[in-house]
Amino acid sequence: MQILFKTSYDQDIDHLPHRAELLRVGLALALAIAAPLLVGSYILSQLGLLMVYAIAGVGLMMLTGFTGQVSFGHAAFLGLGAYAHAILMSKGVPFGLALPCAVAISTVIGAVLGRSASKMHGFYLAIATLVFAVLFETLLGEWEGMTGGYAGMFVPAFELFGLDFGSGWRQYYVDLAFLVVVLLAAANVLRGPTGRAFVAIRDSELSARCLGVDIARTKILSFALSAGITGLAGALLAHHLQYLSPETFSVMESLRLLLMIVVGGLGTLLGPILGATFIMILPLIIRGMRDLLPSAISEQAGLEPLVFGLIIVLFILFEPTGMAGRWTKIRRFIETFPYYRADSFERQKRYVKTERMR
């Protein structure tokens, strides 16, 4: 059992105030850096993809997890980043310029959407974003001159100094570096006034307003930030996919992103990472189940979506705080050992109230 004392206000500001946390994160980072030595090229590219999704998850988390604005259409920003980046690159713009431009474009579009959405609430907003994504997908398909239409387009290779950064360990490090930067930036925002304003809006718009938070502006900021980060993920994703088509950024993809942060654990920054890990290994789980099941069932078409759906439902039923919540419990168990009580996370009865009043 360890007891943590606070000796300075700085500890409440620091990201990792305790040595144990510092150690854990350091270890994880060291492992991530050493990964190219430890795993084969396929797994490495999957790890890179995982990081890209984790970035996208952080983006969505800012909006949905912290500001409480549910988005069903974040694949649109992923697509926006990916297409903007790929189109710019195919027009000869170098990576170093195309990427910031892509991020800027999705940030701006995010801000514009955020502006129109700043008055919407709850699932109105969720549906509005969903519809936005559907329309965006249509736009990608119809704007053939730019996007290659429904036939899609190839993503130019990412070369720097004559070296291929679009695959292998170099790409992996690019992804990793961006993930670290994004996580740091997100954590920084969350410990500052704007991040607190996000959370304030999530819990009570009314009193946030009375404390001087400009609701519309803050929501726009949240949207813009979220869209920017997701757009960045999109640009990196483009190099993983190497081929873009409108349906890559369908509603299904938006749902996957949302699923990722819910399963990972809403309102945490660990959530997107755990969630991304989860959706990356989900297909493996499903395949594993397929091997275990009797062939009469396992050879049925539709098994994947079935298992996918079941896992989601079971997850939310039995671990509603997500994987990050589970992690907290495990950590608590270790820290308070041997005094941990299983019932300390037992929940009281809960009741809901209308969310139509705000």
Partner: protein, 367 residues
């Protein structure tokens, strides 16, 4: 050392749809392929190598297709891809696969991009949608005297190719296109579209779609009391469409032929035997897609055999290109894999739903 080849196995990969909207294609074609490989393995393999057949389900979704291809390339390290399904998924994965030097055999799609541009490692099989549709339009103009046509196509690359074929044919034949429409793959409501097509005075309606929307368009057409021939491109040529009573009279033009297995009992006993064998293995009747899958695997096996014990990508491709007159086991037209176009089958067939079955109306549709 050749990638995907060991002393006793050859790994073959396929990226297909087992549970998405094209599952009725993917499942059957995969079964057909698997049957052929199992036969090979039961007979001791190819040059004493067994075939290790790895199937990846991509649910007709591009990101999953890209994932699946990456897995087959870098994790499983297959020797070649055979019969990857669907135009968009193929478009998404073909380039990187070819760049990485994998033979790309018989994508199960009739997209133009499957055959053009030509590339030594890329082996198309089906005649493309554009030319198939040109043939279909010509057929109706010449045998039914149709002068005014209209069309409704999916708003994706598949529909666009069908559309371009219709337009080309209309131009060369001097037909009038009275109206047209495009729809998203998810569209389910065609009332207004059909009304518009109908009011244009159209005499034959061509559609570029898969089975679901084809069914919806056709029933809307008939529900509106419009008695016009409706001709779809290959996507709808699956058994359930024929089994649907409301689809009576519906046409499909597709670059492959249909086999009447029950009818083959006496005329071609080995085909009937194959049919029984397939049913025993998979518990379902073989569809045209199963036949194609089997045929594609068969050609692949032939080329592998020809390449000999010393199997490399080069020897395989060389062997492939030397297959000159190939006759599939089902009595389809003879095809050659020699020459610049690398086309496999150069023909297409018009079929119609009659009494719950697909019936061939015309064995070839020259364009």
């Amino acid at each position: 050392e050749t990638r995907g080849v060991t002393d006793d196995t050859i790994k073959i990969g396929t990226v297909t749809d087992l549970s998405g909207p094209l599952a009725s294609w993917g499942v059957a074609a995969t079964n057909g392929q698997r049957m052929r490989y199992e036969e090979v393995n039961e007979n001791g393999g190819i040059n004493s190598r067994k075939i290790d057949f790895i199937v990846e389900d991509m649910q007709y979704q591009i990101p999953m297709a890209v994932q699946a291809a990456a897995k087959l390339m870098t994790s499983d390290e297959v020797f070649a891809f055979v019969a990857n399904l669907g135009t968009p998924p193929n478009n998404a994965i073909m380039k990187r696969t070819l760049d990485a030097g994998f033979p790309y055999i018989f994508p199960l799609s009739a997209g133009l991009s499957m055959s053009e541009p030509a590339y030594p490692l890329k082996k198309p099989y089906l005649l493309n949608d554009r030319d198939t549709m040109r043939g279909a339009v010509r057929y109706f103009a010449e045998t039914k005297g149709v002068k005014k046509i209209c069309y409704q196509v999916m708003a994706n690359d598949y529909g666009t190719e069908v559309e371009s074929g219709i337009k080309m044919a209309a131009e060369t034949l001097g037909l009038e296109i009275t109206a047209f429409g495009r729809h998203k793959p998810t569209e389910t409501e065609f009332t207004a579209a059909v009304l518009q097509l109908r009011n244009s005075g159209c005499e034959a309606l061509f559609i570029g779609s898969v089975s679901r929307d084809a069914t919806q368009i056709y029933t809307t057409v008939r529900g509106a009391g419009w008695d016009v021939p409706v001709i779809s491109s290959l996507g709808s040529l699956v058994p359930p469409v024929a089994e649907n009573a409301a689809m009576e009279g519906f046409y499909t033009a597709a670059p492959f032929h249909l086999i009447d297995f029950e009818g083959a009992k006496d005329s071609a006993p080995h085909v009937y035997e194959w049919y029984q064998d397939y049913k025993a293995r998979f518990g379902a009747n073989p569809s045209a897609q199963a036949v194609i899958g089997y045929t594609m695997a068969d050609v692949t096996v032939k080329a592998l055999e020809k390449a000999g014990k010393d199997l490399t990508v080069d020897s395989f491709i060389a062997a492939f290109d030397s297959i000159e007159s190939y006759n599939d086991p089902f009595g389809g037209p003879e095809v050659s894999f020699k020459g610049a176009t690398h086309y496999g089958a150069q023909y297409s067939v018009l079929s119609q739903v009659r009494d719950g079955k697909w019936v061939v109306v015309s064995q070839s549709l020259p364009f």
